[in-house]
Symmetry: D3
Subunit: 136 residues, 6 copies
């Protein structure tokens, strides 16, 4: 078994806001991130798959297919979007780095022919990232 | 004369939209960037100053002061903001990488004690940046 | 369960020297690193915590608290210090990348409210790093 | 137990070509990578070893020895070479990122005094890498 | 006037060989780079254009057009190619980083609508790059 | 004319201290950098040379010679050293990023056969660097 990882980038807006809380409570918890006009990031996504190497091609997974799945399931929905306002899973969940990693896992899991999704890593900035390995 | 450069980062939202154009014209010109919910970036700013070295301290400029000026004049206004909606200079100008570089120049020029502003570089993403050297 | 990682940087001096060895033995084992005036690095620290996501906030851990703990327990003691001369754990232990990772683990373990310390990674330079997952 | 990782870089050429397939089949499967004049990459290799820390030196492994083993077993064979034409293991196997990681594992495994090979990671480009942990 | 820079990457093979020299002379001058099977790199290209900002759009140049020109004039010819064997300008010139920068300048100069080509930078590896500003 | 740049790295210690000032004045001016045990950095050096391309080889300068000059004139003196205590030019000058850039210029200027030294850039950290172009 071997692991293969592909990176991709998307640019998106978000804010942090708990509707049950007052403005003051949100400000105290999330600081500048509670600004409801939103702010944004260049997110970096790493998708890791695990599998056996095809003896003929030497590949675990068809790289073009992997790229297409990431494009179709994630990029076309997240890139250049406001996560809170336009991406369904964040209508009721906060678009934190942790929740984005889980949401991307759910979008990709079971869609990659011939390999198992192993890990989703999401960087919000170079100094902050989340890793999700699925439910275990 | 020597040049000294300090980097800083801010996260902000923006969109591209020419009010005199129809939605279709804006879409054609700016693609996904015309989405008015906004999308965002981790911008990297490089501020370069030019000056003579102080013989005693060996510095062109007091690094803490330089950091404070950048914080006060740029970061406190741009970071975690929606550029179109919250930063005055972009009420009437498109927040392109080029215009952001010029706007930051205008905010910093003349404010750095003991040195001359030489260049402002702004990265919107790792593969796109603008350089401004002031009017010449 | 999900993992969240935050990076931080500190600049410090160190040298490698086994007191029971002669200068020649130290030079042979450690080369230029045995220079007792010390040399230095920009260390990069990655702190990874594991936990459950708070359903309301979407966070595994309060990011500001995590930053404060890293600042208080590590940065304030290591940054701009000579590790051999000023940091207690290296009075009797060599400040190698490996030992630094373990020492930082010991400083942080049990101090992060609501999450478990999962991994400490320390880069001495871009091409050399150590990972510690605690005693297992 | 602790993990220590060292990076190294090599520049090499390769192409993808299954001899049992026609030119058209190869083109369809591998696109531009099927060009038999070859194309090349700056590969980045990360070698991770696991072991106990020597109480006297504070090291898991002698860093110079580790560098020498990587140089002798991998760099001297792969660097500035055409992988398909000059490296024996790729006479009959495709030099994909996955197969390169396994081949480097096989070259290094058992050769690092005092520590166990834990992982080999190979980056073909910044956005594509393979990880191999040995047969398990 | 403002400068805008866009990066792109291509992967290619090359070797260094002066036909008038013996194998020994080539080896002495170019070391491993004289291996005629070729070796390769992930080249990074930075294209900088200079111009006036369009008052309506805020852009110096249409980014999509700039990308298309780079794709058509450079990427489609250089990417996944053996520079010595497949790219016409290197039939009689060595594909050094310097010559690649000049050749890309010649390919792009005069083709970028509304802006002047200002600089071409080519990285062969992260630690080696050439800059060309045209004939002056 | 074309420019060629080569990077190199060195690890060194330093501190900031003006002997005519009291401890309190030094602390006020330099903060943690005034700690006389020293602290350290992984410095990155970029050496840019300008020249004409040799029509036969395609090179502005022999890359191995350039590397050797940098090694002999800079690396062997600065790497793994305490700049204040061991490098002669910093006995009487503060080892700031600015002064290090000038000192490296003075060490390299006139020593690079066949090309002119154009610029010396020194990064103290990823977010701080100085550029020196010689006296003009």
């Amino acid at each position: 078994m071997i692991l293969l990882t592909r990176k991709a980038e998307f640019s998106a807006s978000h804010y942090y806001w708990v509707p049950e809380w007052t403005e003051e409570e949100n400000r105290r918890a999330f600081g500048k991130c509670a600004n409801r006009n939103g702010h944004g990031h260049n997110y970096t996504l790493e998708v890791t798959v695990a599998g056996e190497i095809d003896q003929k091609t030497g590949f675990v997974v068809d790289l073009k297919e992997l790229k297409d799945v990431i494009e179709r399931e994630v990029m076309s929905v997240y890139d250049h979007r406001h996560l809170n306002l336009e991406v369904p899973e964040f209508a009721s969940k906060m678009p934190t780095t942790e929740n984005i990693a889980i949401a991307i896992w759910d979008r990709l899991d079971g869609k990659i022919a011939g390999a198992k999704l192993h890990r989703v890593r999401v960087y919000e900035m170079a100094d902050l990232f989340a890793d999700y390995y699925g439910e275990q």
